[in-house]
């Protein structure tokens, strides 16, 4: 019989015994399929440029892969993956040298599948990124996680490794600032049309 145990371990990872296989493809792919879309979206909204998204997303799941054996199943997988993504995004932004006040995305490609009526949606997405760029990193983080990814406050606290009061406080500030920024933009746009 040729290496059936090694082939079998490619199907599902052994539960208790250490293996010489470097990978656990079943679990990594499952986690990837479950969380790739949300992770990609989160990286983008936290300011990772279009050209770096592939690498950043890959880095997130490479870290996931490295830490698979240590992950405690009592903690939510999504929070864990998001915690890694937040750190990766911060690292990529640091490398690209983006300052706080720079718009998050001047490189949003038009991913509209077709007709011109979708360009309004693209404009809204560009506006979203412009408004997110007006928030500092800490408030943007809680805002994106809460208002866009719809995590609960306790989940956000776990993702960011801060306490609940800190999340509540930053969220209050973030909502107020975003609200004002959007109102200013609308007023400015309305003024231009007159």
């Amino acid at each position: 019989m040729y290496g059936l145990s090694r082939m079998a371990s490619a199907v599902a990872c052994p539960q208790s015994e250490p293996t010489e296989e470097a990978d656990c493809p079943l679990i990594l792919e499952s986690v990837y399929r479950q969380h790739f879309q949300a992770t990609w979206r989160l990286l983008r909204r936290l300011g990772v440029g279009e050209a770096q998204l592939d690498d950043a997303a890959q880095d997130v799941f490479l870290v996931v892969h490295r830490k698979l054996t240590e992950f405690d199943p009592r903690a939510p997988v999504r929070s864990w993956v998001f915690a890694i993504a937040v750190r990766v995004a911060s690292e990529y932004r640091r490398r690209s040298g983006r300052r706080r006040t720079e718009p998050l995305h001047d490189d949003i490609p038009d991913r509209s599948p077709g007709p011109a009526q979708f360009s309004e949606l693209q404009d809204s997405v560009r506006l979203l990124h412009a408004l997110l760029g007006e928030l500092d990193e800490k408030t943007r983080l809680v805002f994106v996680l809460s208002e866009l990814e719809q995590l609960s406050v306790p989940e956000i606290a776990v993702v960011l490794s801060v306490n609940l009061n800190t999340v509540y406080s930053r969220l209050r500030v973030a909502r107020k600032r975003f609200d004002l920024a959007l109102a200013r933009h609308r007023a400015s746009s309305a003024g231009e049309l007159r």
Binding site: S5, A10, E29, S30, H65, P73, V125
Partner: protein, 241 residues
């Protein structure tokens, strides 16, 4: 926030996202990197994650403040995301060999000067997990017993299948695979790959090859294709080739 802001957020919340092509492209790159033992290009601190006790203390603190008794991942709770979080149980048990230090991308300076720190685990056995808006399902409650198989159940099943395959018990592996069905697309691929290997164990090579052909058509990008190609299910070689 104003109603207009809520409306705007509602409008844009799901307006952007990766395409299927993006997902497959990154997956292929990830698989290549994993196979090559490539390390993440990010700083070691990201790989290390929070301090070992940090997750546990965070979860305990959150649980205490909200006065909610945590529910383990075993509850198989209502939303798809929380049910899928039970994949963590298998993740915890999976043993990975340490990656070789050889890498194809340059390490950051942080990585090269990394101090070895204890690898973090997320929670102590007593740490509660807070799910304030979700119903607690006791594993012995009638409702829990009537619920559909969760991702956790299916992962446990796959572990049992794998154990059967490892000891050469193709019959046992097939019996377990037939014991219930899944609608989860990713786990379907895992189950079908396991079925092919079980058929090989039973000497049912023709059946295995037919199943492998279907598998390749259904899951062209699956990580299990190599394992299947190395099994009895690969097409027989023509002598002289």
């Amino acid at each position: 926030m104003r109603a207009e802001t809520h409306s705007f957020l509602e409008h844009v919340r799901n307006a952007e996202g990766p395409t299927q092509e993006d997902e497959e492209r990154v997956l292929r790159a990830l698989q290549t990197s994993v196979a090559a033992g490539v390390l993440p290009s990010v700083a070691a601190a990201i790989v290390a994650g929070p301090a070992p006790s940090r997750w546990a203390s965070l979860l305990r603190g959150i649980g205490a403040k909200l006065g909610v008794v945590a529910v383990c991942a075993s509850a198989g709770l209502g939303t798809g995301d929380s049910a899928r979080s039970s994949v963590g149980e298998v993740i915890r048990s999976a043993a990975l060999a340490p990656h070789p230090r050889a890498q194809t991308t340059p390490a950051t300076t942080d990585e090269s000067s990394q101090t070895v720190t204890p690898e973090p685990s997320l929670a102590s056995p007593a740490a509660p997990r807070v799910t304030p808006h979700r119903e607690r399902l006791d594993s012995k409650s009638p409702r829990a017993e009537r619920r559909a198989p969760t991702l956790r159940d299916e992962l446990r099943l796959l572990q049992e299948v794998q154990a059967a395959l490892k000891r050469g018990d193709g019959e046992g592996a097939l019996r377990k695979l037939n014991s219930h069905h899944t609608a989860d697309r990713v786990l379907l691929a895992e189950r079908q790959a396991a079925r092919i290997l079980a058929l090989c164990l039973l000497g049912k090579n023709d059946q295995a090859r037919r199943a492998a052909a279907e598998f390749s058509a259904s899951y062209p990008g699956s990580v299990h294709r190599q394992a299947i190609a190395n099994s009895c299910a690969s097409p027989p070689r023509i002598p002289g080739d």
